[in-house]
Protein backbone atom coordinates (compact mmCIF):
# COMPACT_ATOMS: atom_id res chain seq x y z
CA UNK A 1 0.00 0.00 0.00
CA UNK A 2 1.25 3.40 -1.01
CA UNK A 3 0.65 6.37 1.28
CA UNK A 4 0.02 9.53 -0.72
CA UNK A 5 0.11 13.18 0.28
CA UNK A 6 -3.63 13.23 -0.24
CA UNK A 7 -4.06 10.49 2.39
CA UNK A 8 -2.11 12.61 4.86
CA UNK A 9 -4.17 15.70 4.05
CA UNK A 10 -7.42 13.74 4.45
CA UNK A 11 -6.33 12.36 7.81
CA UNK A 12 -5.26 15.84 8.91
CA UNK A 13 -8.62 17.18 7.80
CA UNK A 14 -10.77 14.73 9.81
CA UNK A 15 -8.40 15.21 12.76
CA UNK A 16 -8.75 18.99 12.48
CA UNK A 17 -4.99 19.42 12.11
CA UNK A 18 -3.39 22.17 10.04
CA UNK A 19 -0.21 20.90 8.44
CA UNK A 20 2.36 22.85 6.44
CA UNK A 21 3.46 21.58 3.05
CA UNK A 22 6.76 20.39 4.52
CA UNK A 23 4.94 18.53 7.30
CA UNK A 24 2.68 16.82 4.77
CA UNK A 25 5.71 15.78 2.81
CA UNK A 26 7.73 14.43 5.73
CA UNK A 27 4.72 12.67 7.25
CA UNK A 28 3.94 10.99 3.98
CA UNK A 29 7.44 9.57 3.92
CA UNK A 30 7.43 8.64 7.64
CA UNK A 31 4.09 6.90 7.47
CA UNK A 32 5.12 5.09 4.31
CA UNK A 33 8.17 3.71 6.12
CA UNK A 34 6.11 2.68 9.16
CA UNK A 35 3.55 0.96 6.97
CA UNK A 36 6.23 -0.83 5.07
CA UNK A 37 7.75 -2.24 8.32
CA UNK A 38 4.32 -3.26 9.53
CA UNK A 39 3.51 -5.01 6.31
CA UNK A 40 6.78 -6.94 6.38
CA UNK A 41 6.16 -8.11 9.94
CA UNK A 42 2.52 -8.97 9.29
CA UNK A 43 3.10 -10.93 6.14
CA UNK A 44 5.65 -13.09 7.97
CA UNK A 45 3.10 -14.09 10.64
CA UNK A 46 1.36 -17.45 10.48
CA UNK A 47 -2.32 -16.66 11.01
CA UNK A 48 -3.66 -20.06 10.00
CA UNK A 49 -6.30 -21.20 12.45
CA UNK A 50 -6.42 -17.82 14.25
CA UNK A 51 -10.00 -16.70 14.71
CA UNK A 52 -10.93 -13.10 13.90
CA UNK A 53 -10.83 -10.87 16.96
CA UNK A 54 -14.02 -8.87 17.43
CA UNK A 55 -12.92 -6.96 20.47
CA UNK A 56 -9.53 -6.40 22.13
CA UNK A 57 -10.75 -7.47 25.55
CA UNK A 58 -11.15 -11.20 25.95
CA UNK A 59 -13.80 -10.58 28.61
CA UNK A 60 -17.47 -10.95 27.85
CA UNK A 61 -20.64 -9.46 29.26
CA UNK A 62 -19.32 -7.05 31.85
CA UNK A 63 -22.30 -4.94 32.83
CA UNK A 64 -23.47 -2.41 35.40
CA UNK A 65 -26.83 -2.46 37.13
CA UNK A 66 -29.08 0.45 36.26
CA UNK A 67 -28.59 2.27 39.59
CA UNK A 68 -28.04 5.99 40.00
CA UNK A 69 -25.05 7.37 41.82
CA UNK A 70 -23.98 10.92 42.47
CA UNK A 71 -22.68 12.92 39.57
CA UNK A 72 -20.09 15.66 39.90
CA UNK A 73 -21.03 19.10 41.20
CA UNK A 74 -21.56 21.66 38.45
CA UNK A 75 -18.47 23.70 39.49
CA UNK A 76 -16.45 20.52 39.33
CA UNK A 77 -17.76 19.73 35.83
CA UNK A 78 -17.00 23.24 34.59
CA UNK A 79 -13.46 23.21 35.98
CA UNK A 80 -12.16 22.03 32.61
CA UNK A 81 -14.06 24.63 30.63
CA UNK A 82 -11.85 27.42 29.40
CA UNK A 83 -14.92 29.66 29.37
CA UNK A 84 -18.26 29.03 31.05
CA UNK A 85 -21.48 30.96 31.33
CA UNK A 86 -24.63 30.32 33.42
CA UNK A 87 -23.58 26.74 34.09
CA UNK A 88 -22.75 25.98 30.45
CA UNK A 89 -19.49 25.38 28.67
CA UNK A 90 -19.03 28.23 26.24
CA UNK A 91 -17.31 27.78 22.89
CA UNK A 92 -17.08 29.82 19.70
CA UNK A 93 -20.29 29.55 17.73
CA UNK A 94 -20.54 26.29 15.79
CA UNK A 95 -22.42 26.02 12.55
CA UNK A 96 -24.67 23.06 11.99
CA UNK A 97 -23.41 20.41 9.64
CA UNK A 98 -19.76 21.16 10.37
Amino acid sequence: MKITEKDIMDIADVSKLALTDEEVKSMTEDLQTIFHCFKKKLSNLDTDGVKPMEQVSSNQNIFRDDKCEHSLEQQEVLKNASVNEKGYFKVPRVMEGN
Binding site: D10, D13, V14, S15, K16, E54, Q55, V56, S57, S58, N59, Q60, N61, I62, F63, R64, D65, D66, K67, C68, E69, S71, L72, E73, Q74, V77, L78, N80, E85, K86, G87, Y88, F89, K90, V91, P92, R93, V94, M95, E96, G97, N98
Partner: protein, 475 residues
Protein backbone atom coordinates in the same frame (compact mmCIF):
# COMPACT_ATOMS: atom_id res chain seq x y z
CA UNK B 1 -43.93 11.85 -15.93
CA UNK B 2 -45.05 10.01 -12.82
CA UNK B 3 -42.58 9.74 -9.98
CA UNK B 4 -42.17 7.31 -7.15
CA UNK B 5 -41.03 8.52 -3.73
CA UNK B 6 -38.69 6.27 -1.76
CA UNK B 7 -38.23 6.87 1.96
CA UNK B 8 -36.16 5.19 4.65
CA UNK B 9 -36.06 6.30 8.27
CA UNK B 10 -33.42 6.30 10.96
CA UNK B 11 -35.22 6.63 14.26
CA UNK B 12 -33.36 7.47 17.46
CA UNK B 13 -35.13 6.59 20.69
CA UNK B 14 -33.78 7.51 24.11
CA UNK B 15 -34.13 4.49 26.34
CA UNK B 16 -36.12 4.83 29.51
CA UNK B 17 -33.32 3.70 31.83
CA UNK B 18 -32.55 5.35 35.15
CA UNK B 19 -28.88 5.84 34.34
CA UNK B 20 -26.75 6.62 31.31
CA UNK B 21 -25.33 3.95 29.03
CA UNK B 22 -21.77 3.81 30.44
CA UNK B 23 -21.96 5.54 33.85
CA UNK B 24 -24.22 5.93 36.87
CA UNK B 25 -25.36 9.48 36.12
CA UNK B 26 -29.12 9.95 36.01
CA UNK B 27 -30.91 10.41 32.68
CA UNK B 28 -33.63 12.64 34.14
CA UNK B 29 -34.78 15.38 31.77
CA UNK B 30 -34.85 19.07 32.56
CA UNK B 31 -32.16 19.47 35.24
CA UNK B 32 -29.82 22.45 35.57
CA UNK B 33 -27.09 22.26 32.89
CA UNK B 34 -24.01 20.14 33.57
CA UNK B 35 -25.28 18.72 36.87
CA UNK B 36 -25.67 15.11 35.63
CA UNK B 37 -22.13 14.45 34.46
CA UNK B 38 -19.13 12.47 35.64
CA UNK B 39 -15.64 11.65 34.35
CA UNK B 40 -17.05 8.88 32.10
CA UNK B 41 -19.71 10.88 30.27
CA UNK B 42 -17.45 13.95 30.13
CA UNK B 43 -14.75 11.87 28.48
CA UNK B 44 -12.11 12.78 31.07
CA UNK B 45 -8.81 10.95 30.60
CA UNK B 46 -8.61 7.54 32.22
CA UNK B 47 -12.35 7.10 32.77
CA UNK B 48 -13.57 3.64 31.78
CA UNK B 49 -17.11 3.01 30.48
CA UNK B 50 -19.12 0.04 31.79
CA UNK B 51 -22.23 -0.94 29.84
CA UNK B 52 -25.65 -0.67 31.50
CA UNK B 53 -27.26 -4.12 31.28
CA UNK B 54 -30.75 -2.62 30.82
CA UNK B 55 -29.61 -1.02 27.57
CA UNK B 56 -28.87 -4.42 26.05
CA UNK B 57 -32.17 -5.81 27.32
CA UNK B 58 -34.18 -2.88 25.95
CA UNK B 59 -32.50 -3.18 22.55
CA UNK B 60 -33.22 -6.91 22.43
CA UNK B 61 -36.80 -6.30 23.55
CA UNK B 62 -37.30 -3.82 20.71
CA UNK B 63 -35.72 -6.25 18.27
CA UNK B 64 -38.01 -9.08 19.32
CA UNK B 65 -41.06 -6.82 19.14
CA UNK B 66 -40.11 -5.81 15.58
CA UNK B 67 -39.42 -9.31 14.27
CA UNK B 68 -35.62 -8.93 14.19
CA UNK B 69 -32.93 -11.58 14.51
CA UNK B 70 -30.88 -11.08 17.65
CA UNK B 71 -27.10 -11.15 17.23
CA UNK B 72 -25.56 -13.74 19.55
CA UNK B 73 -22.22 -11.98 19.68
CA UNK B 74 -22.25 -8.25 19.18
CA UNK B 75 -19.72 -5.54 19.83
CA UNK B 76 -19.37 -1.81 20.28
CA UNK B 77 -17.30 0.51 18.13
CA UNK B 78 -15.92 3.99 18.14
CA UNK B 79 -17.31 6.40 15.61
CA UNK B 80 -14.80 9.22 15.39
CA UNK B 81 -15.68 12.82 14.65
CA UNK B 82 -15.08 16.23 16.12
CA UNK B 83 -18.03 18.22 17.32
CA UNK B 84 -18.38 20.26 20.51
CA UNK B 85 -21.33 18.17 21.80
CA UNK B 86 -19.13 15.07 21.84
CA UNK B 87 -16.57 15.39 24.64
CA UNK B 88 -14.55 12.28 23.78
CA UNK B 89 -14.36 13.22 20.06
CA UNK B 90 -15.90 9.83 19.39
CA UNK B 91 -19.29 8.31 19.96
CA UNK B 92 -19.53 4.73 21.16
CA UNK B 93 -21.94 3.03 18.77
CA UNK B 94 -22.14 -0.24 16.91
CA UNK B 95 -20.81 -0.73 13.42
CA UNK B 96 -20.71 -4.21 11.89
CA UNK B 97 -22.33 -6.29 14.65
CA UNK B 98 -25.49 -4.50 15.83
CA UNK B 99 -27.67 -6.21 18.44
CA UNK B 100 -30.65 -6.67 16.07
CA UNK B 101 -30.91 -7.17 12.32
CA UNK B 102 -33.46 -7.95 9.60
CA UNK B 103 -36.81 -7.23 11.18
CA UNK B 104 -40.02 -5.69 9.89
CA UNK B 105 -43.30 -4.08 10.87
CA UNK B 106 -46.59 -4.44 9.05
CA UNK B 107 -48.53 -1.23 8.63
CA UNK B 108 -52.04 -0.47 7.41
CA UNK B 109 -52.47 2.26 4.85
CA UNK B 110 -55.79 2.89 3.11
CA UNK B 111 -57.05 -0.53 4.10
CA UNK B 112 -53.99 -2.35 2.73
CA UNK B 113 -51.32 -4.10 4.77
CA UNK B 114 -47.75 -3.21 3.87
CA UNK B 115 -44.48 -4.58 5.20
CA UNK B 116 -41.65 -2.19 6.05
CA UNK B 117 -38.25 -3.80 6.57
CA UNK B 118 -35.98 -2.95 9.47
CA UNK B 119 -32.29 -3.27 8.56
CA UNK B 120 -30.87 -3.05 12.02
CA UNK B 121 -31.22 -1.75 15.56
CA UNK B 122 -28.08 -0.78 17.43
CA UNK B 123 -27.20 0.84 20.75
CA UNK B 124 -25.23 4.06 21.11
CA UNK B 125 -24.74 7.07 23.34
CA UNK B 126 -26.45 10.42 22.90
CA UNK B 127 -24.40 13.62 22.59
CA UNK B 128 -24.64 16.78 24.69
CA UNK B 129 -26.95 19.63 23.86
CA UNK B 130 -25.78 22.73 22.04
CA UNK B 131 -27.52 26.05 22.41
CA UNK B 132 -26.61 28.44 19.64
CA UNK B 133 -26.96 32.05 20.51
CA UNK B 134 -28.07 34.25 17.64
CA UNK B 135 -26.89 37.52 19.10
CA UNK B 136 -23.55 36.56 20.59
CA UNK B 137 -21.14 34.69 18.47
CA UNK B 138 -20.93 31.66 20.72
CA UNK B 139 -22.41 28.28 21.57
CA UNK B 140 -23.32 26.97 25.01
CA UNK B 141 -22.98 23.28 25.87
CA UNK B 142 -24.88 21.15 28.38
CA UNK B 143 -23.48 17.64 28.79
CA UNK B 144 -26.40 16.24 30.83
CA UNK B 145 -27.60 14.41 27.73
CA UNK B 146 -24.14 13.11 26.82
CA UNK B 147 -24.18 9.37 27.41
CA UNK B 148 -27.96 8.95 27.57
CA UNK B 149 -28.64 5.56 25.97
CA UNK B 150 -30.15 5.47 22.50
CA UNK B 151 -31.24 2.82 20.10
CA UNK B 152 -31.10 3.65 16.43
CA UNK B 153 -33.64 1.84 14.28
CA UNK B 154 -32.77 1.85 10.59
CA UNK B 155 -35.47 0.89 8.11
CA UNK B 156 -35.19 -0.33 4.56
CA UNK B 157 -36.19 2.23 1.90
CA UNK B 158 -39.65 0.65 1.83
CA UNK B 159 -41.96 3.62 2.29
CA UNK B 160 -43.43 5.50 -0.64
CA UNK B 161 -45.65 8.24 0.76
CA UNK B 162 -46.07 10.46 3.78
CA UNK B 163 -49.03 8.28 4.87
CA UNK B 164 -46.81 5.20 4.92
CA UNK B 165 -44.09 7.03 6.81
CA UNK B 166 -46.65 8.27 9.32
CA UNK B 167 -48.18 4.83 9.78
CA UNK B 168 -44.78 3.21 10.27
CA UNK B 169 -43.53 5.86 12.66
CA UNK B 170 -46.69 5.75 14.77
CA UNK B 171 -46.62 1.97 14.89
CA UNK B 172 -43.00 1.95 15.97
CA UNK B 173 -43.75 4.55 18.62
CA UNK B 174 -46.64 2.46 19.94
CA UNK B 175 -44.36 -0.58 20.20
CA UNK B 176 -41.68 1.39 22.05
CA UNK B 177 -44.38 2.60 24.44
CA UNK B 178 -45.92 -0.85 24.92
CA UNK B 179 -42.56 -2.45 25.65
CA UNK B 180 -41.70 0.53 27.90
CA UNK B 181 -38.34 0.79 26.19
CA UNK B 182 -38.72 4.55 25.68
CA UNK B 183 -41.11 7.14 27.05
CA UNK B 184 -41.30 8.53 23.48
CA UNK B 185 -41.75 12.09 24.72
CA UNK B 186 -41.10 13.80 21.43
CA UNK B 187 -41.30 17.27 22.94
CA UNK B 188 -38.32 16.30 25.13
CA UNK B 189 -36.42 14.83 22.20
CA UNK B 190 -36.83 11.22 23.36
CA UNK B 191 -37.79 10.17 19.86
CA UNK B 192 -36.36 11.73 16.72
CA UNK B 193 -36.24 10.66 13.12
CA UNK B 194 -33.89 11.23 10.21
CA UNK B 195 -35.53 10.98 6.80
CA UNK B 196 -33.68 9.62 3.77
CA UNK B 197 -35.66 10.44 0.67
CA UNK B 198 -35.23 10.09 -3.07
CA UNK B 199 -37.54 10.09 -6.06
CA UNK B 200 -37.34 8.17 -9.31
CA UNK B 201 -39.46 7.82 -12.43
CA UNK B 202 -42.22 5.32 -11.70
CA UNK B 203 -41.05 1.79 -12.38
CA UNK B 204 -37.34 2.71 -12.64
CA UNK B 205 -35.02 0.05 -11.26
CA UNK B 206 -32.32 2.27 -9.78
CA UNK B 207 -32.90 4.65 -6.90
CA UNK B 208 -32.50 8.38 -7.36
CA UNK B 209 -30.00 10.51 -5.45
CA UNK B 210 -31.15 10.88 -1.88
CA UNK B 211 -31.12 13.70 0.62
CA UNK B 212 -31.18 13.39 4.37
CA UNK B 213 -33.12 15.50 6.85
CA UNK B 214 -32.03 15.11 10.44
CA UNK B 215 -33.64 15.26 13.86
CA UNK B 216 -37.33 15.68 13.15
CA UNK B 217 -39.08 15.65 16.46
CA UNK B 218 -42.80 15.50 15.80
CA UNK B 219 -45.01 13.28 13.65
CA UNK B 220 -46.41 16.38 11.99
CA UNK B 221 -42.94 17.62 11.10
CA UNK B 222 -42.05 14.21 9.64
CA UNK B 223 -45.15 14.14 7.46
CA UNK B 224 -44.67 17.70 6.26
CA UNK B 225 -40.96 17.22 5.60
CA UNK B 226 -41.64 14.09 3.51
CA UNK B 227 -44.33 15.86 1.47
CA UNK B 228 -42.27 18.96 0.98
CA UNK B 229 -39.02 17.19 0.08
CA UNK B 230 -40.79 14.86 -2.40
CA UNK B 231 -42.27 17.86 -4.11
CA UNK B 232 -38.98 19.74 -4.15
CA UNK B 233 -37.07 16.83 -5.69
CA UNK B 234 -39.75 16.16 -8.32
CA UNK B 235 -39.72 19.84 -9.29
CA UNK B 236 -35.92 19.75 -9.62
CA UNK B 237 -36.10 16.71 -11.90
CA UNK B 238 -38.91 18.19 -13.98
CA UNK B 239 -36.74 21.21 -14.62
CA UNK B 240 -34.00 18.90 -15.80
CA UNK B 241 -31.86 19.58 -12.71
CA UNK B 242 -29.92 17.02 -10.71
CA UNK B 243 -30.50 16.24 -7.06
CA UNK B 244 -27.48 16.96 -4.88
CA UNK B 245 -26.73 14.35 -2.25
CA UNK B 246 -26.77 16.46 0.89
CA UNK B 247 -28.06 16.90 4.39
CA UNK B 248 -30.87 19.39 4.65
CA UNK B 249 -32.32 21.05 7.67
CA UNK B 250 -36.09 21.03 8.06
CA UNK B 251 -37.54 24.20 9.54
CA UNK B 252 -41.02 23.19 10.62
CA UNK B 253 -42.09 26.68 11.61
CA UNK B 254 -41.40 27.96 8.09
CA UNK B 255 -42.34 24.65 6.43
CA UNK B 256 -39.21 24.62 4.32
CA UNK B 257 -35.84 22.95 4.16
CA UNK B 258 -32.44 24.27 3.27
CA UNK B 259 -29.10 22.58 2.67
CA UNK B 260 -26.57 22.50 5.47
CA UNK B 261 -23.10 23.58 4.53
CA UNK B 262 -21.79 20.36 3.08
CA UNK B 263 -18.26 19.17 3.68
CA UNK B 264 -15.95 18.75 0.76
CA UNK B 265 -15.13 15.20 1.83
CA UNK B 266 -17.66 12.58 2.73
CA UNK B 267 -17.69 11.64 6.41
CA UNK B 268 -14.97 9.26 7.41
CA UNK B 269 -15.89 7.99 10.85
CA UNK B 270 -12.91 5.58 11.07
CA UNK B 271 -14.91 3.01 13.04
CA UNK B 272 -12.91 0.58 15.13
CA UNK B 273 -13.74 -1.80 17.96
CA UNK B 274 -14.05 0.04 21.28
CA UNK B 275 -11.04 -1.18 23.27
CA UNK B 276 -12.50 -0.22 26.66
CA UNK B 277 -15.53 -2.50 26.29
CA UNK B 278 -15.93 -6.21 25.78
CA UNK B 279 -18.22 -8.28 23.55
CA UNK B 280 -21.87 -8.78 24.35
CA UNK B 281 -23.02 -12.38 24.28
CA UNK B 282 -26.76 -12.96 24.30
CA UNK B 283 -27.38 -16.64 25.01
CA UNK B 284 -30.65 -18.51 24.73
CA UNK B 285 -31.44 -18.33 28.44
CA UNK B 286 -31.09 -14.56 28.52
CA UNK B 287 -33.02 -14.21 25.28
CA UNK B 288 -35.80 -16.31 26.73
CA UNK B 289 -36.02 -14.14 29.84
CA UNK B 290 -36.21 -10.98 27.74
CA UNK B 291 -38.83 -12.53 25.46
CA UNK B 292 -40.94 -13.37 28.51
CA UNK B 293 -40.85 -9.72 29.59
CA UNK B 294 -42.51 -8.49 26.38
CA UNK B 295 -46.13 -7.58 27.03
CA UNK B 296 -49.01 -8.16 24.63
CA UNK B 297 -48.28 -5.97 21.59
CA UNK B 298 -50.77 -3.64 19.89
CA UNK B 299 -51.69 -5.96 17.00
CA UNK B 300 -52.48 -8.86 19.34
CA UNK B 301 -54.34 -6.62 21.72
CA UNK B 302 -56.46 -5.27 18.89
CA UNK B 303 -57.49 -8.75 17.79
CA UNK B 304 -58.27 -9.72 21.39
CA UNK B 305 -60.35 -6.57 22.03
CA UNK B 306 -62.44 -7.29 18.94
CA UNK B 307 -63.01 -10.85 20.07
CA UNK B 308 -63.32 -10.44 23.81
CA UNK B 309 -65.20 -7.14 24.01
CA UNK B 310 -66.94 -7.16 20.65
CA UNK B 311 -65.43 -3.85 19.56
CA UNK B 312 -65.64 -2.64 15.97
CA UNK B 313 -62.28 -2.95 14.21
CA UNK B 314 -61.82 0.80 13.91
CA UNK B 315 -62.42 1.43 17.61
CA UNK B 316 -60.17 -1.47 18.61
CA UNK B 317 -57.37 -0.19 16.36
CA UNK B 318 -57.70 3.32 17.70
CA UNK B 319 -57.84 2.34 21.36
CA UNK B 320 -54.88 -0.05 21.11
CA UNK B 321 -52.75 2.50 19.25
CA UNK B 322 -51.99 4.00 22.64
CA UNK B 323 -50.97 1.87 25.60
CA UNK B 324 -52.42 4.22 28.24
CA UNK B 325 -55.72 4.38 26.32
CA UNK B 326 -55.84 0.60 25.91
CA UNK B 327 -55.16 0.19 29.62
CA UNK B 328 -57.84 2.71 30.49
CA UNK B 329 -60.37 0.95 28.30
CA UNK B 330 -59.53 -2.49 29.64
CA UNK B 331 -59.59 -1.39 33.28
CA UNK B 332 -63.16 -0.24 32.70
CA UNK B 333 -64.22 -3.00 30.29
CA UNK B 334 -63.19 -5.88 32.51
CA UNK B 335 -65.47 -4.73 35.35
CA UNK B 336 -68.29 -3.58 33.09
CA UNK B 337 -71.28 -5.54 31.82
CA UNK B 338 -71.25 -3.39 28.70
CA UNK B 339 -67.69 -3.01 27.29
CA UNK B 340 -69.07 -1.81 23.97
CA UNK B 341 -70.66 1.19 25.71
CA UNK B 342 -67.34 1.91 27.48
CA UNK B 343 -65.63 1.97 24.08
CA UNK B 344 -68.32 4.33 22.74
CA UNK B 345 -67.82 6.73 25.61
CA UNK B 346 -64.05 6.67 25.08
CA UNK B 347 -64.24 7.11 21.31
CA UNK B 348 -66.75 9.94 21.74
CA UNK B 349 -66.94 12.10 24.82
CA UNK B 350 -63.61 11.17 26.41
CA UNK B 351 -61.54 11.80 23.27
CA UNK B 352 -63.39 15.03 22.55
CA UNK B 353 -62.69 16.28 26.02
CA UNK B 354 -59.01 15.38 25.73
CA UNK B 355 -58.78 17.12 22.39
CA UNK B 356 -60.59 20.26 23.55
CA UNK B 357 -58.54 20.55 26.69
CA UNK B 358 -55.23 19.53 25.11
CA UNK B 359 -54.96 16.84 27.78
CA UNK B 360 -52.79 13.71 27.62
CA UNK B 361 -54.48 10.33 27.92
CA UNK B 362 -52.78 9.74 31.25
CA UNK B 363 -54.56 12.87 32.48
CA UNK B 364 -58.15 11.61 32.07
CA UNK B 365 -59.74 12.87 35.30
CA UNK B 366 -62.45 10.17 35.38
CA UNK B 367 -61.22 6.83 36.68
CA UNK B 368 -62.01 3.73 34.65
CA UNK B 369 -64.09 2.48 37.54
CA UNK B 370 -66.25 5.61 37.60
CA UNK B 371 -66.80 5.48 33.87
CA UNK B 372 -68.05 1.92 34.36
CA UNK B 373 -70.43 3.13 37.05
CA UNK B 374 -71.79 5.78 34.72
CA UNK B 375 -72.51 3.16 32.06
CA UNK B 376 -74.18 1.00 34.74
CA UNK B 377 -76.46 3.88 35.72
CA UNK B 378 -77.65 4.18 32.12
CA UNK B 379 -78.03 0.43 31.60
CA UNK B 380 -80.05 0.01 34.78
CA UNK B 381 -82.30 2.87 33.67
CA UNK B 382 -81.44 5.09 36.62
CA UNK B 383 -80.51 7.94 34.31
CA UNK B 384 -81.26 8.55 30.65
CA UNK B 385 -78.40 8.65 28.17
CA UNK B 386 -79.10 12.31 27.62
CA UNK B 387 -78.74 13.05 31.31
CA UNK B 388 -75.64 10.85 31.37
CA UNK B 389 -73.87 13.43 29.22
CA UNK B 390 -74.53 16.04 31.91
CA UNK B 391 -73.32 13.67 34.61
CA UNK B 392 -70.20 12.99 32.55
CA UNK B 393 -69.46 16.72 32.31
CA UNK B 394 -69.78 17.12 36.07
CA UNK B 395 -67.62 14.05 36.66
CA UNK B 396 -64.94 15.49 34.40
CA UNK B 397 -64.82 18.74 36.34
CA UNK B 398 -65.36 17.59 39.89
CA UNK B 399 -64.14 14.03 40.10
CA UNK B 400 -67.28 13.07 42.07
CA UNK B 401 -68.87 9.61 41.93
CA UNK B 402 -71.60 9.47 39.27
CA UNK B 403 -74.27 8.18 41.67
CA UNK B 404 -73.52 11.02 44.07
CA UNK B 405 -73.91 13.52 41.25
CA UNK B 406 -77.24 11.98 40.22
CA UNK B 407 -78.40 12.14 43.83
CA UNK B 408 -77.15 15.66 44.47
CA UNK B 409 -78.74 17.20 41.37
CA UNK B 410 -81.81 14.95 41.33
CA UNK B 411 -81.09 13.58 37.88
CA UNK B 412 -82.74 10.18 38.19
CA UNK B 413 -85.03 9.04 35.45
CA UNK B 414 -88.60 10.01 36.20
CA UNK B 415 -90.42 6.70 35.90
CA UNK B 416 -93.38 7.34 38.14
CA UNK B 417 -96.33 6.78 35.75
CA UNK B 418 -98.75 9.03 37.63
CA UNK B 419 -96.43 12.05 37.49
CA UNK B 420 -95.64 11.46 33.84
CA UNK B 421 -99.33 10.98 33.06
CA UNK B 422 -100.14 14.35 34.64
CA UNK B 423 -97.52 16.04 32.48
CA UNK B 424 -98.65 14.14 29.35
CA UNK B 425 -102.17 15.38 29.92
CA UNK B 426 -100.92 18.94 30.33
CA UNK B 427 -99.02 18.73 27.06
CA UNK B 428 -102.03 17.26 25.26
CA UNK B 429 -104.34 20.02 26.38
CA UNK B 430 -101.78 22.69 25.45
CA UNK B 431 -101.25 21.29 21.93
CA UNK B 432 -104.63 20.46 20.39
CA UNK B 433 -103.30 20.98 16.85
CA UNK B 434 -100.57 18.34 17.21
CA UNK B 435 -103.02 15.92 18.76
CA UNK B 436 -105.39 16.40 15.82
CA UNK B 437 -102.54 15.82 13.40
CA UNK B 438 -101.66 12.54 15.06
CA UNK B 439 -105.26 11.42 15.09
CA UNK B 440 -105.52 12.20 11.38
CA UNK B 441 -102.51 9.99 10.70
CA UNK B 442 -99.49 12.27 11.00
CA UNK B 443 -97.67 9.94 13.36
CA UNK B 444 -94.54 12.03 13.23
CA UNK B 445 -96.11 14.76 15.36
CA UNK B 446 -95.82 12.43 18.33
CA UNK B 447 -92.12 13.30 18.43
CA UNK B 448 -93.03 16.91 19.01
CA UNK B 449 -95.20 15.99 21.98
CA UNK B 450 -92.46 13.74 23.43
CA UNK B 451 -90.14 16.73 23.21
CA UNK B 452 -92.63 18.87 25.11
CA UNK B 453 -92.90 16.33 27.91
CA UNK B 454 -89.11 16.07 28.09
CA UNK B 455 -88.83 19.84 28.34
CA UNK B 456 -91.22 19.97 31.21
CA UNK B 457 -89.29 17.23 33.03
CA UNK B 458 -85.79 18.60 32.29
CA UNK B 459 -85.13 15.58 30.13
CA UNK B 460 -85.59 13.18 33.00
CA UNK B 461 -88.82 11.41 32.07
CA UNK B 462 -88.39 7.77 31.05
CA UNK B 463 -88.86 8.01 27.28
CA UNK B 464 -90.45 4.56 27.03
CA UNK B 465 -93.21 5.51 29.46
CA UNK B 466 -93.68 8.90 27.80
CA UNK B 467 -94.05 7.29 24.38
CA UNK B 468 -96.45 4.70 25.64
CA UNK B 469 -98.68 7.17 27.49
CA UNK B 470 -98.70 9.58 24.56
CA UNK B 471 -99.69 6.87 22.08
CA UNK B 472 -102.51 5.77 24.34
CA UNK B 473 -103.76 9.34 24.85
CA UNK B 474 -103.76 10.20 21.15
CA UNK B 475 -105.47 7.13 19.82
Amino acid sequence: MKYEVVVGLEVHAELDTRTKIYCNCTTKFGAEPNTQCCPVCLGLPGAIPVLNKKVVEYAVKTGLATNCSITMLSKQDRKNYFYPDLPKAYQISQDDLPICTDGYLDIEVEGKTKRVGIHRIHIEEDAGKLIHSESNNDTLIDFNRAGVPLIEIVTAPDMHSSQEVKAFFEKLKTILEYTEVSDCKMQEGSLRADINLSVKPEGAKTLGTRTEMKNLNSTRAIVRAVEHESKRQIEQLEQGLLITQETRRWDDAKCESYPLRSKKEAHDYRFFAEPNLCSIIIDDAWLKRIRASIPELPDDKKVRFIKQYDLPEYDAAYITSSKPLADYFENAAKISKNPKAISNWIMGDVLNKLKDGGIQITGIPISAQRLTKLVDLIDSNIISSRIAKQVFEIMWDTNDEPDEIVEKYGLQVLSDSDTIKRIVNEVISENPKAVDDIKSGKKRSIGFLVGQVMRKTDGKADPRIVNQLLSEATQ
